[in-house]
Amino acid sequence: MPVAKPLFIILAFAVLAVLTACGNDKAATGEEKTIKVTTTIGMITDVVERIGGEYAEVTGLMRAGVDPHLYKASEGDINKLDKADIIFYNGLHLEGKMVEILEKMAKDKPTVAVSEKIDRSLLRTGAQIGLDTEFDPHIWFNVQLWMKAAESIRDALAEFDPAHAEQYATNAEAYLNELRQLDAEVAEKIKTIPEQSRVLVTAHDAFGYFGDAYGMKVMGLQGMSTASEAGTKDVTDLRDFLIDNKIKAVFIESSVPRKAIDAVIQGAKEKGHELKVGGELFSDAMGEEGTPEGTYIGMVRHNADTIVGALK
């Protein structure tokens, strides 16, 4: 079989591609005052926008309502990553295989995992199988941990762009103050729920940090991965627990289908326990841009209000 021909064709296409690629790269040079920042999840995008202010041009990869576990890259993402001066991501395997790529990119440009500087003893462990401990990546549910992430972002921006370090520090201070208030506010609100009703039931296991930080028992129907499915026993166990403890509401999440939660509600109804959907919580993604829930602070506030409103 002649092999030379296909190889030649591949080569021809390759040469063509190189020519077009070179043409693209030239256009990018020019005078830039702002630094180009690319981020993965919306929560990080929001923080970088607040701290970077007018000196950072922030591009987020994942839009509202996108589950980072199941995110599919598009062609435009290549440019967003390629043109970025500095990249922020969550880390702890939240972004799946993309984390490996971002770690590799670190030799060309700073790529910062915002969870990296957080003391490992503060993190929730997932599986303890094998040598490495796996950590729960959903750190933004504990506002205090997220403040540490914001500090990493401030430090990384200042290190990368020392000319504006002072402005970053000022912006960060203002933002951290808001977060401190938010933290106190959420803790205050959760305390208004009667103690035995402080149970948060959601479809997937994302709210562990929220429960730890604000004193709620958290139960998820699925495991950590949004791809795994709930077993029958999970559904019945959860149903029985809810009936026994007279819990009034369960919650659905913006980025996870509500099917499994509906099964629990149906099951409880058959046993004569009225269970309602307490509302939609934002878990792995924030709300639409432009709405209050489209910011980190708005999202946390929405979650706290929804939980308190339904369980009180």
């Binding site: 296409f13 591609a17 599919k72 890259a73 062609e75 435009g76 599986a127 199988i129 991965s225 791809a227």
Partner: protein, 290 residues
């Protein structure tokens, strides 16, 4: 540079899959790529349980072993008289189910699914480079899939006649003294190695698609195996190039766009092929009636 690497990777996947895919289409086992893409789940769970890490090397090893077991079982069942589609279906659903059970038993608290730990994304290929002695020698995917392609080209060229007779007429191949089972297993092994290597770099849809669509298109355009292989490689490479620019235009998934273009080319061939095309056959029928 990233454009070049992505298109090159797409073309390499298309060529590797195009070569082995032709044999699979002829043997009515085209969906074996999809089967492997699911059946490797227990492999990655077991690899994780043993190694305790989600490092892609361990995941790749686990997947490769289960990939080989998958094709071995499929071939074994097929030779024992189960229809090829049924044996593919039985093996991959059963293995995938084992994987689901393992995930629910041992790894509930960890994000361990194929999308996260095994399947790569062609958009990220340019950054996942290999360094040897401090020198960047290009993306890992290009080397990995390039090696798989080289292996396919060498083996298929060396034993072209044997592979061909075994695919078209196993009974005759056995009669002339070719070890048919050996060549079947060899081909299946080749399929498994090249698909698993490609999954890791570019994800499932691109591999499964390139394994089926261009060969099926080529099947409509020629009656000769050597030409079928060439045409499917050319169509696959063309789909990669056009697909990439389609993805750029739409700002959409690259792998998805490449396979859509391949599907579009298939549709064109189905309608306009001089021998098998729907339109030409209609014309011929009319002529015969007139």
């Amino acid at each position: 540079m990233s454009t070049f690497w992505i298109i090159l990777t797409g073309a390499l996947v298309a060529s590797t899959c195009g070569i082995v895919g032709c044999f699979l289409v002829l043997r009515k086992m085209a969906m074996i790529g999809d089967a492997i893409s699911h059946s490797v789940l227990p492999g990655i769970v077991i690899a994780f349980l043993i190694s305790g890490s989600r490092d892609s090397l361990f995941m790749l090893l686990g997947a490769a072993v289960i990939g080989l077991i998958t094709v071995f079982l499929i071939q074994l069942f097929h030779q024992s008289g189960v229809q090829s589609d049924a044996s593919i279906g039985v093996v991959f659903t059963a293995l995938f189910a084992v994987g689901v059970i393992l995930v629910s038993m041992y790894t509930r608290n960890i994000d361990l699914d194929l999308d996260c730990v095994l399947y790569g994304e062609i958009a990220y290929v340019p950054w996942n480079t290999i360094e040897i002695g401090g020198v960047d020698i290009g993306p890992k995917a290009v080397w990995g899939i390039g090696l798989a392609l080289l292996l396919c080209v060498i083996l298929i060229t060396a034993f072209y006649k044997q592979f061909k007779i075994c695919s078209f007429d196993p009974a005759m191949a056995a009669a002339v003294g070719i070890p048919v089972a050996l060549f079947h297993y060899l081909l299946m092994g080749l399929v498994s190695v090249s698909t698993v290597a490609s999954f890791e770099s570019v994800g499932a849809i691109l591999v499964v698609g390139m394994l089926v669509v261009p060969p099926a298109t080529a099947y409509l355009l020629t009656e000769r195996l050597s030409r079928m292989i060439l045409i499917s490689i050319v169509l696959g490479c063309a789909s990669s190039v056009i697909g990439y620019y389609l993805a750029r235009m739409l700002d959409a998934s690259i792998a998805g766009s490449m396979i859509c273009v391949a599907g579009g080319l298939f549709l064109l061939a189905l309608l306009f092929s001089p021998t098998h095309g729907v339109i030409f056959r209609k014309i011929q029928q009319k002529r015969l009636l007139a």
